[in-house]
Symmetry: D3
Subunit: 329 residues, 6 copies
């Protein structure tokens, strides 16, 4: 993981940290300080891997760092990162460190919640299209840290050491003009390790189309994907049960059912209570729209003396869960 140049050169830093660097330098002030970073609410910590990589590149050898691990559960206001070094060594990077933790922890926490609710049904992150492509890989990485099985883009899946998932969009079926034709072409040209999952809501009723593609591909068909739009009433427990029943009745009990389209915590609970026979979920906005978890960085010691601004407790906050960081080089 390389840290982009605009981060390293302070171009993404809040301007007042530039002012501070200038004034302190003129005044020859560069005390050893201890900064503590903590979140505004509880969740799953994510972004720490990237934050430590940034610190690795900028901190001198005598700096000390304590931290929680990537993916750890963290409590409201729990200190997750403590840095002790000359202020000039890292003051400029506060903006970037907080931002990495904020976005990624926000996404990981939302993913964690929906993965826990969906258990034991697996969840794949489909939200890349809902965030700027500069951070879509971080979104997907965070979703996987939060428990998703994998994600939809090569960049995101690679960041988490996974293979990307995804078979066919509505566009492809529309271009073929018929779902069965599209599925047959897909089966013909795709490598055998790609699962054959047919999207069955493009032209006809889902139950009818599911039986048609199962009849066409037989044992080669891994599953069908239901993505019914709100204009057709979304995917409901009854729809899933009926598709399952009609597939079984037609002799295709092996064909799995994968559900996407507006899947969120509330929908997962509805499916669960109804015992809907689902084999996998694709989740988009419910993860991508998660608000960041704001983090704060506080100076708590200067030259070894406890200090704090009004409203905060001076001195180190005890947290036995923190472990000291060993530089990776």
């Amino acid at each position: 993981m390389t840290i982009p140049e605009p981060i390293l050169n302070g171009d993404t830093a809040d301007f007042y940290f530039h002012n501070t660097r200038r004034v302190l330098a003129q005044e020859n002030l560069d005390p050893s300080v201890t900064m503590e970073i903590f979140p505004s609410r509880a969740g799953i910590l994510c972004g720490m891997r990237e934050a430590l990589e940034l610190l690795n590149q900028v901190l001198p050898n005598d700096a000390q760092v304590w931290h929680l691990d990537e993916g750890a559960a963290m409590d409201t206001k729990e200190v997750v990162l403590r840095i002790r070094a000359r202020y000039s060594a890292f003051g400029l990077y506060e903006t970037a460190l907080l931002g990495m933790l904020a976005s990624e922890s926000g996404w990981a926490t939302a993913a964690h919640r929906i993965v826990e609710a969906a258990k034991p049904i697996s969840v794949i992150s489909f939200g890349a299209r809902h965030v700027h492509p500069n951070v879509s890989a971080q979104l997907e990485y965070a979703a996987i840290i939060g428990g998703c099985a994998t994600a939809a883009t090569p960049a995101g899946a690679r960041l988490a050491g996974k293979k990307p998932s995804g078979t066919m969009p509505h566009a492809m079926i529309l271009i073929f003009g018929d779902t069965v034709r599209a599925v047959e072409a897909f089966d013909k040209w795709m490598p055998p390790d790609v699962s054959r999952i047919a999207l069955v809501d493009t032209f006809r009723d889902e139950a009818e189309e599911a039986v048609r593609v199962a009849t066409a591909l037989g044992d080669l068909l891994w599953g069908v994907r239901l993505d019914t739009p709100s204009e057709r009433g979304r995917v409901t427990p009854d729809l899933i049960k009926e598709v399952r029943a009609r597939l079984d009745l037609a002799g295709f009990p092996h064909v799995k059912i994968f559900v996407s389209g507006g899947v969120d915590l509330e929908r997962v609970e509805i499916f669960k209570r109804a015992n809907a026979p689902i084999d996998g979920y694709g989740v988009g906005s419910a993860i991508s729209a998660a608000p960041p978890i704001d983090f704060t960085g506080d100076l708590k010691e200067i030259d070894g003396k406890p200090i704090a601004k009004r409203g905060r407790i001076p001195g180190i906050t005890p947290n036995p869960r923190l472990k000291e960081w060993t530089r990776n080089s």
Copy 2:
């Protein structure tokens, strides 16, 4: 604005678009298609500048594009972008196009709301620290498109053609050990075009500290910033009025009051109703935590014939507000 390589090479694209490209190529299918892109809810359109830049780099000369302008108000499900071209020319970029529009429109819309509420008091975007540094510049650009006066990072302000704002953080004052000392050093070393705005809640009561720094800098002091933490009751209308009164009583009616810290729509309404004498706002999470506005791309014509998946109306959606794009090359 350059488009990063991982976007251009499809690394951030949903994997099923790679599959689609492969299968269609094998089948020699590459019709002319018309795609329409529309938002899931109303707001301020942002990200269009970047989306058009991406299309500029990838579309052939005979492609046609219609669009709304950056910063335009858009309605729920209103078509904001229509692309007519061979599918192979742009199918792979659907993920990136939607993502740019989603994140930036989400932020611009939130900024617009708070700027409208705060009028005529100006608002500066302070939220860079709450999002990943890979998109903090886009956040600040979008906030300015939404109406903010400027933003806090060099990268973000530059993207919008502005100068960054920001004077001093709590860390600087803590290192100096006294607000007046910090403010005097700031005044000594910073260029004259930087406004002297003193942060007055670090060590002492805000009203007391405000009078102290005003006494120290006199006419040189442009203003004070109130950023009272929740542990001290946040910034309230009564606090602002009292600081104003004590500054006036001490002979400093020229010193302005700038308010930050948890400022959101609700707080702005409270300040407004109370006629709190505020000269400027700094807004963070209320913009940075705005959820993206999800966009959808639908194929509506193939080789000139109206088509649509179930749930959508086949054919072009009339929208007289769209204007045809002239390539900037």
Copy 3:
């Protein structure tokens, strides 16, 4: 309209009226009394026609009756019927009179509300199946008094002087095994004055099936009926608009759209706000499940003297809207 024997012989009367008849007869008490009948809440008065028919059969010639007309708007506790006669002449019929007014006014009032909301789109009562067949004709009569265009059973429509409405049920299409086949057979064998309305949600997606039946019958097709079940998301404004658009695109702008299935006040408002292109409604439970409007009968004069039980004002209640009844002997 004939009054059934169990009503005339008191078999449906509350038993205490039999006791009263017995005791008063033994005591030779049979004063002239004035009874006033009023509803517990406002609504559309219905059942008066039948009530007057009953009174016509039982009251002596010197009895006096005042009443509001069938279908009149009535206010809470407004006197709608006043009877002055020997108590022995009608005391036994209080139960039946109140019951006729209660059930029929309840249905007429509910029908009136939905008809007003749906205007100018016409409404047909489809609720016979949701009430006991002994009163389904009264339900349909009351729905028509409340404003419905007609109703679904021969008995009900006849009572209101209308022709019954209805084309084909799901059962018929299932027996034919295909919607187009069923519609073609319907067209072949039904008299020309029966509108050809195809039910299009039995086997396939509604939009697809609508175009298929329109293609099969052409100008002979009057309309399609959408009755989508909740398992498929009910009938939504978007579905109606899409069916309209696909019919128009396929060259069948003359085919009307008739909507049924769970239509109630809330749904009608949703369709209205969305400008859904609907040509007719079929309404069942929203009328048939309306609670009766309870009526009360109070003695207010005995032998010309004002009287009342505790809680009521003694004597005649002035109501200039009442008109005296002329016997249709």
Copy 4:
């Protein structure tokens, strides 16, 4: 129980079943079908006795019927009746079958709830006056199936094999001009097996009147009925307790207290929590105003093959609670 002619001749059937009969006959289509009937919500099944009687009159000998028993608890969407026969044998009666079950199950369910709440105090159905006299007997029968001790009309009580209940109305007391006089006449002329229950809220305060009638009739008085109107504050727990206390104090502990007038689930709970000394309830609107429970009939097999319209599972729905019907002739 005889089935009225308008039901048997299809006059109360939805018109589209007439159309269906006509078209199928012309097409010589008359498959063996299986129809399943199920309710839209849980409750107490009622109307089955009458439905089976109708089927008994119309089905051929080789038809098969499975059903739950009258009075059984049924679950939402549980199949309560399954009919296998030529479609022509019963298709026309779907409207009547559903309607019988709908109205009667609605009333029985409401009665069941209030009887359960009131236990061990018995409940008598007083609601005949709030429904059309054509179904008041069915209402009372259903109320008794739901658990009521008996009902108020001769027709209704007879249908359920009970004796009707009821002593004297306000009208009788008003005609006598004094409660004690009315009660004495009642006692003089009524057969000894009719309970002497005095209505005590017509002219004077209930507590005062209760002691007066008890003094007049002594041991012959079975009880008093409290029916206080809303204008006098309805019957309250405190009123009941005071009447009890004043009767006891005056030496009439044997006189029972029967409560009527707006008694519903909420009131019963209030009386229960207050330990009001009640010996019996009369319940009207809380049963008669219960909405019908809508039932649906679905074809699930045609000529032995599973089938269903979109939204339903094809084939027989397993329900081990169903038992096969033995024709009663």
Copy 5:
């Protein structure tokens, strides 16, 4: 109005004012100070008359006082009293001054609201029994300042320059054993200037008893009082209308109706909407249970210099409504 000794000698003062007096005396500190007193919420100012009487007794001649008048409407935090004097002259009386204003303004404000709602029907304060007798006169005085016509105790009415109101309690009627007997004795022995108002809910139904007492006293009866307890459903609009109707029907249109028992704002609104024919109200708890309006006293000048504790604006608060006090001696 004499100020009780425990107030004058500081026995009712908060103890820390005694400490303050002691310490300041030892330090020879006795500056001229300006104190401003303001309420925590808006209402009707009451207690000022008594507060000024206290100040009259303790302030030296050179002290200055500004104030709003007794009974004035006051706004939230509006200064209602400003005192400028040596601190030693009045510091000890802050507790008493605030307390007088708090209790009396609370009651006057509640009275004002109900009087406004009841207009043009007059209201009499009946709440003395719900507060300690040491302040029942102040309660009644405040109720009259708030708009009540008079009150129920000699002490309270006298304080406000009125004659007390009240005729007979339930106890008196119970001792006589019959309402008519009690009313006749009352009429026989009370002076002619006392209105004959009969309480009519003690033994019998109100409507019955009202006609009985009217028949007994004829033109001598001024009115009846309805005070129905909650056990009998309270006084309702229907009860009032019926009593009015039965009195009129019996030839007593001159007899007025006075309502008491749980009368509060909500009840008054109910009576008003129902056009209940009421001639007077007696109000108890709705006034007596009003919470005090807390007042605060702030030092705003010391020896002529603006000052204030944190949270308050230093210096005199402009209020043109204040008028300077002229000593009454």
Copy 6:
């Protein structure tokens, strides 16, 4: 405890008791009666000591009294006081007896609730300034009966056999112009048995000022009082924790923290959940603004015979908790 003359002479009695006395005397009616007094809602009984003192002064020797003890928990409508005597002996005092119980029980009940919630932290009543000085001693007495440790005025504390509490007001600190100067003077001149508790929110931030006064007085300082106004965000758990931490860090772990200012049940719960390190509470309005608990007096026997007005049960209400009163002659 002496009973004031206006109570003894009936000046504070409802006027209709004067009427009753006059009429009964003229009629020579003076039966032995039994009155029962009960509250409208549950709570802590207070005012009984004073009520018995009044009865002691007015009842003849042969009167009988039963009562619950001062401070007892009482239930809704539980009889707390029963008096059997000639009516002339105490009829006039009903108003005063009910009023004493009403006000004092209201305050004691509110105090009890907050004391229970605050346990084991002690509570001092600070509400004297919010009620009229004629009853401020009764308020404080009742608060102590409800569980408060002591109260703020000499009169109130004395009534309950306690020493008053309270150190210094804002006024004293403002006059000294500096908190440390004021505290030093207080320490110099106050007797050693008065706790040195410094009010630390007048001029500077509470945390800063707390350390300043602790540094000035050292071991002599018993504690600090936090009374932060709403304009500065009130006293919050975080503020208390920070003051505690900064005192400890500066070497003053012995200094206690006392909290006042808007403390109510909700605030106490917030402090408790947050484990705020509080050593004592001062509570004002949460006790002083408690509404009185209305009491009612009913005649239940006259000359030994059970009686009651309509709505009440005639005769003695059994209550084994009542104990007979022994005159303290």
